[in-house]
């Protein structure tokens, strides 16, 4: 791990966790900076929830060290609730309770003053879109509404750090959009957000940094663009010809070109050999196209999608 730990809001140092004979986390180290939206992605059972439970203090018997604002999480467990809001993946509510009743209890347990609590609950319910069901019992809420209530209780005491475990699961497309918007707005206010998901699309548009976890190991941490760039530097070249341009031949004979994939009459992709000199190869291809008097509309070095990066790391190909 080459990251500089200065300014880290959360820092994991060689953390491991076993459940009896199962190794849930293996020597993981990473950091989350203040103001980050840190997307923590990995398949089901990869150790995301275990990581999160360590941060929020629900798991205390682990190896290694976890620091929040440079303080050991084990030492500040009693005070951590003041700065931390937690949306658990599974946590339920007592079914006989009403939405506002639950928020009232959690608000008081979090130490919010009674005189401001009612107004705060009203604001939060409006923010997450639950104001119409505030007097309904949990047993009458849909799964999506319960998920929004989990988010509401996490935001209630205006924490600096939000730990969201699969916050978009169970939400319909409109609610997913709303929750993503709320997360972005909270980050704009300077809050640090740690967001886990097993679905890449949940995090790729909003995360400023991403950590990929598989089988309890951190496979990669970085900004989305850096992950894409580091993964594979433009080994595919997309060439789009002008309408009516004649076919260009013999591009597969250019040194460094592995194969040519014809997408349609105007578009092809040249797959370059990983060991080739990319600049030299591109120049040769270009020269070949001009030599045959073919007209180019677009010429583009393709970057891998984040999905490709993710699949590569969790798909079992990385050793």
């Amino acid at each position: 791990m080459t990251e500089n730990s200065d300014g880290a809001f959360i820092e994991f140092k060689n953390v491991s966790k076993n459940y009896k004979n199962i190794r849930a986390l293996e020597n993981i180290s990473f950091m989350v900076e203040k103001g980050d939206i840190f997307g923590y992605i990995g398949p089901n059972g990869s150790g995301k929830t275990t990581t999160i439970k360590i941060i929020v203090g629900l798991i205390q018997d682990f190896e290694g060290e976890v620091l929040i604002r440079s303080k050991r999480v084990r030492k500040i467990r009693k005070d951590i609730h003041k700065i931390l809001g937690y949306l658990p993946q599974e946590a339920g509510f007592q079914r006989w309770r009403t939405v506002s009743g639950i928020l009232n209890t959690f608000g008081m347990l979090s130490g919010l003053p009674r005189n401001t609590l009612k107004k705060r609950i009203q604001d939060i319910l409006e923010l997450v879109g639950l104001e119409d069901v505030k007097n309904k019992k949990i047993t009458h809420l849909s799964g999506g509404m319960v998920q929004k209530l989990r988010l509401a209780q996490a935001l209630l005491h205006k924490p600096e750090l939000l730990i969201l475990d699969e916050p978009l699961s169970g939400l319909d497309p409109t609610s997913r959009y709303q929750v993503k918007k709320i997360i972005k707005e909270l980050a704009d206010e300077g809050k640090t957000i740690f967001l886990s998901s097993h679905i890449l699309s949940d995090v790729q548009n909003i995360a400023t940094r991403i950590g990929i976890l598989n089988h309890g190991k951190i496979m990669k941490v970085g900004r989305p663009k850096d992950l894409q760039r580091d993964f594979k530097v433009g080994n595919d070249l997309e060439i789009i010809f002008s309408e009516g341009s004649k076919q260009c031949n013999d591009l597969d004979k250019v040194p460094g070109v592995e194969s040519i994939e014809i997408i349609n009459t105007n578009k092809l992709i040249a797959h370059l050999s990983p060991n080739s000199n990319i600049d030299e190869c591109i120049n040769t291809i270009l020269a070949k196209i001009l030599e045959q008097k073919c007209y180019i509309r677009n010429f583009n070095l393709l970057e891998p999608s984040l999905e490709e990066v993710y699949l590569k790391y969790v798909g079992g190909n990385i050793k």
């Binding site: 439970k53 929020v56 203090g57 629900l58 798991i59 009693k78 951590i80 609730h81 931390l84 937690y86 658990p88 599974e90 946590a91 339920g92 509510f93 007592q94 006989w96 309770r97 009743g101 209890t105 959690f106 008081m108 347990l109 979090s110 130490g111 209780q153």
Partner: protein, 220 residues
């Protein structure tokens, strides 16, 4: 602070639950019926019988309610959101105990007062004797229900299946709660009041020590 908040939280649900409504009505009805039919004998006075039946019925219900609700809440991960806040683990369970226990005490006292009033109107027994016997019955019932409620919490803490918790509560919880009553029934020389209170307090404390030790180690 957290214990009081959690207690109020639990109370709001329990006092108006269907089970409690049955007890609010059922206990006084049992008391009236026993007094009306005068089922007591010299070996077992009516007041002792009222205490025994109410403690047994109420205790069984309390054990089942507490154990199954704790297992259900554990399964639904309800406690996670409490535990990330400044809430002591034991207070989550203590609040349940006090809520159910205090509702049962009120229901028992109401039932015995009901019976007492009927006795005052209908019987020739001296008032001082009746007051003494009523208080005895109240104390015996309260001691037995304290054990029942504690056993309900213990079973809920240990069990991971609602069905198992219910079965254990019915077959074990109720029988154990009667340890505070049985000896004074079969050995009349023992003072039932003193014996029930001592056994109730000691057994409750022992069970709670076990509960706190187990619940502290639970992983959520």
């Amino acid at each position: 602070m957290s214990l009081w908040l959690l207690f109020i939280n639990e109370m709001k649900s329990f006092y108006k639950s269907k089970v409690m409504i049955v007890l609010w009505i059922g206990f006084p009805v049992i008391s009236i019926l026993l007094h009306y039919f005068q089922v007591g004998s010299e070996e077992m006075p009516v007041f002792a019988l009222v205490g025994l039946i109410i403690a047994s019925l109420g205790g069984t219900l309390a054990t089942v309610i507490l154990s199954t609700s704790i297992v259900g809440e554990k399964k639904e991960h309800v406690y996670e959101l409490f535990l990330i806040r400044p809430v002591k683990r034991r207070n989550i369970l203590l609040s349940k105990f006090f809520a159910v226990y205090s509702c049962l005490i009120v229901a028992t006292v109401v039932a015995l007062i009901f019976g007492f009033v009927i006795d005052v109107i209908t019987s020739n027994i001296a008032l001082s004797v009746m007051i003494k016997d009523t208080l005895k019955s109240v104390a015996i019932s309260i001691a037995a229900m304290s054990i029942s409620c504690s056993i309900g919490i213990l079973i809920g803490t240990l069990s991971s299946s609602i069905a198992l918790a219910a079965i254990l509560s019915i077959y074990i919880g109720n029988q154990l709660s009667l340890i505070s009553i049985m000896p004074s029934i079969f050995f009349p020389e023992l003072d039932p009041l003193v014996f029930s209170i001592i056994v109730g307090v000691v057994a409750t404390c022992l069970i709670w020590t076990l509960i706190i030790l187990i619940f502290r180690r639970k992983q959520f």
